[in-house]
Amino acid sequence: MPAAATSFLAGVGDAALFAFKAMRLVWTPPFEVGETVRQVYELGFRSAPLIAISGVAVGVVLSMHTRASLERFGAESMIPAGLAIALVRETGPLTAGLLLSGRIGAGIGAELGAMRVTEQIDALEASAVDAFRYLVVTRVIACVIALPILTTVMNFAGMFGGFLAEMTATGMPFHLYMKRAFSLVEVTDYVPATVKTMVFGFIIATTASYLGFNTESGTEGVGRASTKAVVLSSILIIVTNVLLVRMIFFIFPETAGG
């Protein structure tokens, strides 16, 4: 086997072990509660403006496209419900996942990478602190908690954006828009799609932490870790999403239609 392929497979194996270790330590004490709360704030709460603004913009654009399509069939009244289902089932979770892989993935990759090259991770270990538990596990938990919440924020922001577009086009009042929007959305549309973003959170946190934790080659390495964290976690989210949607259709056949 060529050396590059061996090295690639070794890297994949190493990353998988890293992810399994993170998954295992999430459930075992000591729990770094204070640091986890801080990370929920840093990674989650501080991402809310990005998600809310993007959600409104996505909602406006989706609404305009939906109107252009449904107008041809005289089904304009279905625009709020169509938009809501599209947002809740796929557009919201995937867009939030990709946006957060950019913001959070780059942040974690750069922060841990910088801590590695400036010996701060070694300093944590030398201070008798389990650096993996303190830096990685806390970020994994924070991302798994934050992603579904931020996805919900994105869904509502998107619906609000859709309302703005509809109000501008037809003068539709807010309460009527929301009534129509939620008329066809079921719990099985919202829950599985939102829960799947917990997997996205895990992917973002473990990928970025792995790359940051194993940074080499000084500041150049930090930049590389940050870029790779975004690229890899985005690709993994898109690919995993296909599998998760397939799984959701299998477990909740009613969501697959037909």
Binding site: T118, E119, Q120, D122, A123, E125, A126, S127, A128, V129
Partner: protein, 268 residues
Amino acid sequence: MMGSAAARDRDSNSADVASSRASSPALRMDHVTKMFGTRKVLDDVTFDVPAGGGFVIMGKSGTGKSVTLRHMIGLLRPDSGRVFVGDDEISALSGSPLADVRKKMGFLFQSAALFDSISVGENVAFPMRRHTRLRDGEIRERAKQKLAAVGLEQDFDKMPGALSGGMRKRAGLARALSLDPQILLVDEPSAGLDPITSEEIDGLLVDMKKEGGATLVVVTHNMQSARRLGDQLLMLDEGRIIARGTAEQLDHDSNDLVRAFMTSQHAG
């Protein structure tokens, strides 16, 4: 004085074993070998560090000095051989037993390695917050005392990025001393500092050694610093011990490299 490095190494190893039987050393490296890729960085290194006093590991850049220090606190594990801290084999420990041994040690990194997301004071308070049950007020008070001891009492609330290189080193020393360690490991205390600041840091380390009775292990290639801090000196070359003794003994060593090193006035 020995005739050859190998003979000296053997005799030194025998002496170490004998001394370890007489009184328990603070640290012991037992036939430690470490490879990075195909490069052997430590080659069957055996020595002990007596409890109390100053022990200096010196040698040219890339001879395995910092790698030795990192083995002593378990940041690196040997490919073969064992490392002891007191009676604990740190090279075989993990999890909370490893943490318990590390709580007895302090480590001053070459770059100081201050946590740059928290203030200087919180850096010093960090080990106390993690490993003691002291109340917040008491931790802050103790952290201020540690900072005062290194002349940084006014800088408690500053962020590490606002400090000069020498101040960062002093803050790193305050953090390393936060839990009053029995063993203090110091990696290149003079690196990147001017001679006067370097002397100040050495002065703090000498004071600590005299007052606290802790064991001080210093890695340096600065001979002035080594003479100030070391009751015993050990010299590494290409991952092997080539000399060990007091500064006076090494001044008259038969090995040209050792003598050349001892007479150098490298300021770091």
